[in-house]
Assembly symmetry: C2
């Protein structure tokens, strides 16, 4: 800790809100709603830790409140010397971001590569648990599902092209960084994904309130994929008809569970830890 590392020598203090180096951080909230790219915003220390230790993502730059620098020595050591660390006052940070950034730590991250479902699956061990999402377009739900996938060590998450981007700012935040941690692919139709899973010898269990078996009776498999659809519509009927289906046993009197909660229950049931 006292090895002579001086944070103030690593950081670039910026006093002018119009400094072009701050452009990627400008109006984060608005850009979030309209655009998407290979770049994303990471917020807070926990997410920054995940980003800086990721093999699939890298930091482009950091933006830190001057009052937070002292607690970040470990992160600044981990940060490659080519990655600039900008430091500003609270006023400047809030003005740039477009809202009050109370955690005081932002980073611009970038994805190095976007593997296909087939590429992800080909690298998995003989025993593997995969989470498959069809049509999940709510960022909170996607973030929560990734958090659960990390907690129960799902090997990857496969999302069809109608799912929302897990690198959306809110999805990353709700996931506590898990969208940067659990390998995922988001491309193709759900049928493409099912075909890739079948080629790799995965058994699929589709979760549905009308599923044929209770998840507690349904057998596991060495290579198991758990498939989740939206809360309202559910999974496409044609898909449910040709897949093995399971339900989370619950009251007949109440609306279905939230899909993220359902993923937590099913992942817990089929994880290697249970």
């Amino acid at each position: 800790m006292n090895s002579g590392f001086r944070p103030e020598e690593r950081v670039l203090k910026i006093d002018n809100a119009d400094d072009p180096r701050l452009a990627p951080y400008r109006n984060i909230r608005e850009r979030d709603l309209v655009g998407r790219s290979e770049r994303f915003i990471a917020e807070g220390k926990v997410v920054l830790n995940v980003l800086l230790s990721s093999a699939r993502f890298e930091a482009e730059s950091l933006l830190v409140l001057e009052s937070r620098l002292n607690g970040l020595e470990q992160q600044l050591r981990l940060c490659p010397p080519t990655v600039p660390v900008y430091c500003v006052s609270q006023d400047i940070m809030d003005g740039i971001a477009g809202f009050h950034v109370h955690r005081g730590i932002l980073a611009i991250g970038r994805r190095k590569a976007a593997p296909s479902p087939a590429e992800l699956l080909s690298g998995l061990p003989d025993r593997a648990l995969v989470t498959v999402l069809c049509g999940i377009s709510n960022h909170d739900n996607v973030g929560s599902i990734f958090r659960n996938a990390a907690a129960f060590e799902a090997d990857c998450v496969l999302m069809d092209e109608t799912c929302c981007d897990p690198l959306y700012r809110k999805a990353i935040r709700v996931s506590v960084g898990a969208t940067l941690k659990v390998p995922y692919a988001r491309q193709g139709t759900i049928d493409d994904i099912m075909a890739a899973l079948a080629r790799e010898g995965f058994e699929t269990l589709a979760l549905s309130p009308s599923g044929a078996q209770s998840i507690y009776d349904a057998p596991s498999a060495p290579r198991l994929a758990l498939l989740f659809g939206t809360e309202g519509e559910g999974l496409p009927k044609a898909l449910l008809e040709r897949l093995r289906t399971a339900r989370i046993p619950m009251s007949a009197d109440f609306d279905s569970l939230n899909v993220a909660t359902a993923s937590g229950i099913a992942l817990s049931r089929f994880s290697r830890f249970s």
Copy 2:
């Protein structure tokens, strides 16, 4: 359906945003953040259905978009004749509420009585499952936990006095009306609640990442209380030391689960349906 019921004869059309009858609906969002009372806002058709069929809550009035009246025949029949149903245009509704009310259905609800934990427990059957919350102050989490309690038919929810109000607008909405459905008490310290549970012969299982047993190994009990604390701090140490504890088995490498997800997993494990 065609029995001559005419919604337009049941409703009071209001064209003036300053009409004093609309006062309870004014600036809903702001009042939500500062005050609380026995009154609350119910939003949307599903929540309205729960409110209108509740024994513990009653509607004071309804405020409906004129374009939504046609789909509400069933609800208007259920609504006691003494409860006024106001009807406005979208402009007036948005102006009154202070935001765009896209579901177009609001109601002011009122709690009839607030039973104590002891009163709630004394009415439970020999086999019962109770959810106990200590210090859960996030409205999303409280709403989600109630949704799970309803899905798995927990008999009631007991909250210590440091938990937030489950009648907060967002908690009701996230719970899909379950905070109006599952009986609850919110009063006293967690020690008071533990004492009331013990008097009624409940076994308590405290959920904690450092719990002694896996939830899948921990035995159930005819009368079982599941205790959940906050995500950050967790349950008070003194409490954990004297209670039976259980953990949801998961990765050692990742941050703990969201408390609402944890409640879903534990309730599913110990519910009568599993």
